[in-house]
């Protein structure tokens, strides 16, 4: 035999030279998204740090894969738990964008569904319905809001279980095709995961959204007003702080959502205040300023005064 036996190809074709992580980071444009996150989302420290971790892992994985050091796609299914109005949906939207930038999902769209979209009304209706939703979510992120409604332990013939089983199958076998995010209130999600251990173990990231502090809520209010092209007069600023402190103590407080509603009502009052004195010229300044009186007219202050009496 005279054939020359070729040496086996080197296991590491790119050598072991230093790799440019910085260049990869800049190239992925993930910095923009993370900065945007820092700018637009106030508070939420544990959430942001977890997103940073995931972004770092995906970048390093990308770098490793250029060396042929593939570790398989990491499972990125998540659960977002937290009280109402803590920004779960907002973060999910961002998440779709981040994962798209990092090349983890191919399209980066978000499909938001609830129980109604997944569970059918009669036997044999659930599976096609769930598959339809999964088909739409392929290449992006499937966001299941109030996921605990999927499982109704009080009714053993409930079709929710069937939807969960199909979800599980796809989450396991097609994890490079989509990311599933479950969201809901903390206690109910805990029971949900407790009664579906298979689901809990396939969700790699359990992220808890903390309630906002008073200062954070005020910062959120300022951000919202800025986006709506309004501003607070100095007095109104103090009034809003008092309002937030009072409102936090009351039932049905929904964090940022309550703040948004309060601001919407303040806008209504500002509009009718300006409308009252029609005839007089109105300046641009007046149009964009919310006064303390607009906020102090709130039911929250009225109730407080009633208590004091």
């Amino acid at each position: 035999m005279s054939a020359v036996i070729e040496p086996p190809p080197p296991a590491d074709p790119h050598g072991t030279g230093p790799l440019d992580l910085e260049a990869e980071y800049r190239h992925s444009q993930v910095a923009e998204v993370l900065d945007g996150l820092e700018r637009d989302l106030i508070g939420l420290v544990p959430v942001k740090s977890r997103i940073r971790d995931i972004a770092a892992l995906l970048l390093i994985d990308k770098l490793r894969s250029t060396l042929g050091l593939s570790a398989g796609a990491p499972a990125l299914h998540m659960s977002f738990t937290g009280n109402p109005g803590t920004g779960k949906t907002t973060v999910a939207l961002r998440m779709a964008e981040i994962l798209h930038r990092l090349g983890y999902v191919r399209k980066g769209h978000l499909v938001a569904v609830t129980r109604d979209d997944l569970v059918g009304q009669y036997i044999g209706h659930t599976a096609p319905k769930t598959r339809e939703v999964l088909k739409r979510a392929m290449g992006g992120v499937l966001f299941i809001d109030e996921a605990y409604y999927l499982y109704r332990p009080e009714n053993e013939r409930d079709y929710g279980q069937e939807a969960i089983e199909i979800l599980l199958q796809v989450m396991e076998n097609q994890r490079e095709d989509l990311v599933v995010i479950f969201a809901g209130y903390k206690q109910r999600m805990d029971t949900f995961f407790h009664s579906n251990p298979g689901l809990s173990s396939r969700v790699a990231h359990h992220i808890d959204f903390p309630d906002y502090s008073c200062d954070e809520l005020l910062a959120i209010a300022h951000l919202m007003l800025e986006q709506m092209h309004y501003r607070l007069s100095p007095d109104a600023d103090g009034a809003l702080r008092e309002y937030i402190e009072l409102r936090r103590g009351q039932p049905h407080f929904a964090n940022a959502r309550s703040i948004r509603n309060a601001l919407d009502r303040a806008r209504l009052r500002q509009a009718s205040r300006l409308f009252e004195r029609r005839g007089a010229p109105i300046s641009r300044d007046e149009l964009i300023t919310i006064e303390a009186a607009d906020i102090r007219a709130s039911r929250v202050f009225a109730e407080e005064r009633a208590h004091e009496r």
Binding site: R106, P128, G140
Partner: protein, 141 residues
């Protein structure tokens, strides 16, 4: 005899990756993709049975490839084609259609002669497979 119908039909069979790339292109153009099957190979048989619903608002080929996999599982010995429908006003028709699955053995067509008045002869073709009833045409030996 290998049936040639639709786009790419003179090329070797497309691999799954190539099919997925074609679907990806169709979705990028905004066309709605659907899957159809039949076991009647006659060239004039243009209306095949649709497998499931036409798939609107799908963003990624993975969703359609999943549906195709389940169609192949249900009809392993049928012809299956992928259609891309363009709903643009004024166009409203198929833009792309290609065969993605075919029976392992395609027996081909017989030439049928019919004697007309005088010495006239009419010719037509008939698929050997069409001798058997629908659904059993390609299953046997």
């Amino acid at each position: 005899m290998r049936i040639t119908q639709g786009t790419f039909s003179f090329l070797p069979e497309l691999s799954d990756e190539q099919i997925s790339r074609q679907i990806e292109y169709s979705l990028e153009q905004g066309w709605a993709v659907s899957i159809e099957y039949t076991d009647d190979p006659h060239p004039r048989n243009t209306y095949w049975e649709m497998f499931g619903m036409p798939m609107f608002d799908i963003r990624d080929a993975a969703g359609i490839m999943g549906e195709l996999a389940s169609c192949r599982k249900t009809f392993p010995n049928h012809y299956i084609k992928v259609n891309a429908f363009d709903a643009t006003r004024g166009r409203e028709s198929l833009r792309l259609s290609f065969i993605v699955n075919r029976p392992p053995r395609e027996p081909g067509f017989a030439l049928v002669r019919q004697e007309g008045p005088g010495r006239a002869l009419r010719y037509t073709t008939r698929a050997y497979a069409a001798d058997r009833p629908e659904g059993e045409r390609y299953s046997g030996p």
